[in-house]
């Protein structure tokens, strides 16, 4: 494994550790509902600060269930991951293609006339 790949793996592992540690250490245990969304907690805080506040507009479309909502979130992540993977795949392919073209050129230059006549036959 190259040094580059190792560093990249360490970075990924660190991110995974940061996400898993709060769960393993039970940092949500002091809460009635551990690991709810901070956005939702802010809504609760608003109703505490101003108990008579009524949201004056509701979403045009609301996912009918938690399952549908998580499906849509996965779709969002999948779309993003797909485009990123396409980008890096394309770049890698281009780089390899360029390298092969260079090698072929070098080969043809070496074999000289033989390479040329092969190209003419094509």
């Amino acid at each position: 494994m190259s040094r580059n790949t190792k560093i990249n793996l360490v970075l990924l592992l660190a991110v995974a550790a940061l996400a898993v540690l709060p769960l393993v250490l039970g940092l949500g245990d002091h809460k009635k509902e551990p690991f709810t969304g901070a956005d939702g907690e802010a809504e609760t805080a608003i109703t505490e600060l101003k108990p008579d506040y009524e949201p004056w507009f509701s979403p045009l479309y609301e996912p009918p269930s938690g399952e549908i909502e998580s499906a849509l979130f996965s779709l969002q992540a999948a779309l993003g991951a797909g485009v990123l993977a396409y980008y890096f795949g394309l770049r890698r392919g281009r780089r390899q293609g360029e390298q092969r073209a260079l090698e072929r050129q070098a080969d043809e230059a070496l074999t000289g006339a033989a390479g040329k006549s092969a190209a003419e036959r094509d």
């Binding site: 940061l18 709060p22 809460k31 907690e41 805080a45 990123l84």
Partner: protein, 233 residues
């Protein structure tokens, strides 16, 4: 950092919308110019938007026992400057408001201001400062992404505290309350975002050297970018 639909009083919703609109309009102009002048950058633009899509969909557990998500805006701000990131961030927030009931149309202005404007600008400022003082690229990238992420949530806390001051302790009391919900939760997530942004930047350095040099992220010469260059870009 998504303020839920209808959860900002109308006056605040309108004010944040008015504050955000010029940034987004200016961003759309910069974006169309970038695409027209450098059609080859479309792919990397797409990848930057995609990074925001992935990261803002990832809800991760944090030390406070609640979950939140990174923003992914640091990368695009560093690569293409904050105005263009304003557009990419707005697209992400619109997607979430319309399809996921996450955030909302009435709070779009406020959410755009925190995630697509304030965060990218703060992150980019830190990145540019560090680069100018000759910090290593990846240190600047990590710090920029970290600050973009964390400042977004600080701005959200300010927005909510302005709209809902504590009856007893006023704006500051409410700021403490929202800050403890958002900002503290966000610190480890901002570290994660910094690490992921460094990872993607490392892959970009390997795969897209030419592009990064054109965008001024990698330096063609040894000299750091000067003030005027940064402004004219």
């Amino acid at each position: 950092m998504h303020i839920a639909e209808g959860f900002l009083p109308p006056a605040h919703a309108v004010a944040w919308g008015v504050a955000s609109a010029p940034f987004v309009v200016h961003g759309v102009r910069s974006l169309t110019r970038e695409v027209r002048e450098h059609p080859e950058s479309t792919l990397l633009l797409g990848a930057s938007g995609a990074f925001t899509f992935v990261l803002s969909a990832l809800k991760l557990p944090s030390v406070t026992g609640s979950c939140s998500h990174p923003t992914g805006t640091g990368l695009g701000a560093i690569l293409f400057r904050p105005p263009i990131m304003a557009v990419l961030g707005t697209i992400t927030l619109l997607f979430q408001a319309l399809l996921l009931a996450h955030g909302g149309l009435t709070t779009l202005g406020a959410n755009v201001f925190s995630m697509a404007i304030a965060g990218p600008w703060a992150g980019y400022a830190v990145y540019a400062l560090l680069r100018r003082s000759n910090a290593p690229l990846m240190v600047a990238v990590f710090s920029g992404a970290f600050v973009a992420d964390l400042s977004t949530y600080c701005v959200t806390s300010v927005q909510l505290a302005l709209a809902f001051p504590d009856p007893g302790s006023g704006f500051l009391g409410a700021l403490g309350k929202f800050g403890s919900i958002f900002a503290v939760t966000q610190i480890p997530l901002a570290v994660s975002e910094g690490l992921l942004t460094v990872l993607v930047m490392r892959l970009l350095v390997q795969s897209s050297k030419g592009e990064l040099t054109r965008l001024g992220v990698l330096l063609a010469k040894k000299q750091p970018r000067t003030e005027t260059e940064a402004v004219t870009r």
